[in-house]
Symmetry: D2
Subunit: 311 residues, 4 copies
């Protein structure tokens, strides 16, 4: 991970200056505020700001339900109830802002979540850093032969060596030529006085998709949980999943009660179709429904058997 | 305005317990956090939470523009630049949460702004309070004869007396019957043991549109400014404009630099069409273009002449 | 249901004039285009326009997956796959526009779905019709004693008579006084020359929440299904559920394959928590986990036992 | 532009099969439905579907305003009124779906408009085509020296030759190595039986940002106009502006009345601040306000003088 010295100093300054607030405060999140958590070879996630805590969700829900419910439900019980019944609006009352550094091909997946606010580093205005992602040797996966979108075994040995060589060489060459076309060195000085230097907004097109970009990303809790349920899932691409996993840990610090409910109802849960429910009812009665009688397609049947293996 | 005693005590408690935070803090907004600002006869606006300050906008903009711009632009200059060029994403980096009490017919206008998070008091679950809006005598406007959506002169004298009488009487009767149908008194006790009591979700339909509801409403700064530019405008209905005006004052406390830019570029500014620009160019050259040569419709011509009166 | 004569004639004209198009066409939806389906005592739903068909969803998914997948998956299989794995973007490629007439208290629930486009009849500009909702005798439910938000048995006999009387009388009086305050008769003529007439935007506040309003409501298929999954659900209030049920039938006409997948995976399916999955695994192994060992709250345990009753 | 033969045949089939519809039809848009309009060296824009016409906007506005307004306003007048007063909801009643082929660095700008539906070709599932963008010689702009985000003069001569060489060579090498890492030839056959082939989701990171991607992009008219007002503007990067310009032409075909209003009020208009209005008033009175007395920053003053040059 690479924060530049300015950023490191800025963090130290921000963390040396606590101020008084009447707002809801999450001490466990304050303990790591602004601090970068490393992800991949040069990326990071850090929390820049947040709004609300577990109690803010309960408070918002009680506006909806009125005072009458106050006595019956304990806070954790209410949060579980909201999560189970997909009452989403109280969770929208919390908000969090991250600073993320990530490879461009990861950013392209990430940005598909539209219900967030984003400020990305602009390569129209500024010069990109020479930083690109190279997978670790134990993540260099081959294309799965069974699953069109999945990864299979590891690429190893000479094939792996060749892949590393190509990735590094092409990214490196791309940057050298990026700089040459810009006609600027790292300090921003003109190199060749006879050249005009290609516009930044054009030169950037020569960089490869593993170059790192960064952004501020702000999202409400409901949409964050939706993002995490998709991106911390085992089917998500490894390179985005590692970001989601760091954010899950930050969620645990921030909203411990909501985190537990989320892990139980979303991350660890499952959605069953009407057909799957019917099969389960038969199995619970001691019957052994088969694929042929299930009415399912092969894919769904396999997923069902994986979730509920026949003894 | 009517907070119930529980709410008043809760505010006192929240304001007696400052905590330390490393987040951006707005001292002028902290000074009034949780405190209700009265609006209309029973309504209020109060700030429950906020995220960010003027510096957070600048910080986010600089992520986009990179470090190179740092020296050139002062903070206020940068905020003015963003506002003038409608660069909206840095303004999305701030967020605010209000608790608002407002008549239902105002809530119906307000909710049309979709880019916000809302938790409203639910009359399916809870019993509505006996509180309804009656306009002040100096706001009892007649229908404008010239403008289909506007207000004209004041309704006065016997006609006004009759209006007040009808509004109060119908709202009051509606509530009496609401209670009777519910078969509950204010303390929630059953009144007539032989009655079942109509479901709350049905009984509520007997209330009139001037009954007060309340909600938590959370919005980012960019969308808040859009809301205010429409609802603090002189064409907005008085009953929603007074809420927007209170929120404008709260914006001034929260983000003084952004507030000034907003007042200059949005609230006090104007959008001109290509035709209007052409007329202005002619006028600046000393010519006197007329309606006939303007290519405008009558409505636009009148608006243009109001903005730039002929001497 | 009450369309005015102008509307009836407009529908006849629109339906007498088919035109040629190269766009995707749904013959079963064309067969009822513009035609009102009655809901409640005066409401309706009608389809004004639509974009796309089942094939358009498949087509969009195949842009994502590329040509390679074409051979393997049949269309229905692909739509089932998308629905099961919550791949939502292909479903966003269809769009539908409804014209809906509905009581204001129903409109207030409905509008909470923000991801739609709305044009509502404005009582600031125009005069409301004298039309209000009165429940049918077999829908006049009492408040549930066990479930805070639910309906219980029917209110009947003298109590019911009294409820009908109150609802009709208060709505009727409210409208009489609305007209009196406006100082206009139904034809828009001034009644009392000495009165100014209260502004429309104010007089409307005297109407009760069961008055009918109407709007154009346009939404993409993904968000429509989310709306239907919540509002056609048995927990939804009856008065909004009947609208959702009509829209379900229209969905079946429009997109028969998607409709089947939606009914199987959403309407007829269930979401299970990690704890519920664990209980099911124990039950499938022949064990009998109890509430005490379930780790569930009472509410969730009851819901679980209802879904999977012990034999 | 390169449609593959399958796509060309599919278009011919779709255009040979008109069907009857009762929906609103735009004959001028039907005339080019599905047909690709070339953009840049390999890109295109084509309309796949649309909903609504100019009359649909008027119809939706009249739901809001009620029948009373019908006589007064002609359709074009009403559309002008809506555009001038930023009444956005009637414009949301139209929808359009495009198929766009565009370089990845353009797609990254484009996707920042969040209020649209997108299905993008996925390089996780499928193999990218060997197609990349190289600017035309008369678009090979140097970095502006005065404007951080702008383009300056043309890069020419030997410098231009070197830029073309580098762009082509690096994109070409990146693709060769992409294929080598995949271990598949263009037909999808395995090349080296001893290699496993890198996962597609990883190999894609080696491609440069000028590679073409494609997507289906669906948006409502209000948000389309917002997109066009930013991206057809002279400050937008050339490579996205050319797409916006093609879409402007398609808008003109689809909704000729709305197009005229849009060009007058948005594309050709200007937003003035309170300070700018004050300066204009002084100028119209014959005074000559200066920068020093304007209260403006240097940037805004220059923009003002450019819009209203001193004779």
């Amino acid at each position: 991970m690479s924060l530049n010295p300015n950023q490191t100093q800025e963090i130290a300054e921000l963390r040396s200056n606590p101020q008084a607030t009447f707002r809801a405060v999450s001490p466990a999140l304050e303990a790591v505020l602004y601090q970068p958590f490393p992800v991949l070879d040069h990326g990071f996630v850090r929390v820049i700001d947040y709004m609300g805590d577990d109690a803010a969700i309960v408070q918002a829900a009680r506006v909806s339900y009125g005072t009458g419910t106050k006595k019956i439900q304990e806070d954790a019980g209410l949060i579980n109830y909201l999560m189970r019944h997909r009452h989403s609006t109280p969770f929208e009352m919390c908000e969090i802002k991250f600073h993320v550094k990530l490879p461009i091909f990861v950013a392209r997946q990430w940005i598909r979540h539209r219900t967030a606010n984003v400020n990305e580093y602009s390569a129209r205005y500024s010069i990109m850093d020479r930083e690109f992602y190279i997978p670790a040797a134990d993540k260099l996966a081959a294309q799965s032969r069974s699953n069109r979108q999945g990864r299979g075994e590891l690429v190893e040995g000479a094939e792996a060596q060749r892949v590393f060589e190509l990735l590094k060489q092409d990214a490196s060459t791309a940057y050298d030529h990026y700089q040459e076309m810009l006609n600027e060195d790292e300090a921003g000085n003109i190199v060749n006085e006879e050249h005009k230097g290609l516009a930044r907004e054009l030169a950037r097109m020569n960089l490869t998709l593993n170059y790192y970009t960064q952004w501020y990303w702000k999202i409400d809790l409901q949409n964050l949980m939706h993002f995490l349920s998709l991106r911390a899932d085992s089917h998500a691409q490894y390179e985005i999943r590692v970001y989601a996993e760091v954010m899950l840990d930050l969620l645990k610090r921030w909203l411990p009660v909501t985190y537990e409910a989320f892990m139980n109802y979303r991350m660890g849960g499952a959605s069953l179709s009407a057909k799957a429910l019917k099969l389960l009812h038969l199995r619970l009665k001691g019957e052994n429904p088969t694929f042929e009688t299930s009415g399912m397609g092969k894919g769904e049947w396999n997923e069902f058997c994986q979730l509920f293996p026949v003894a």
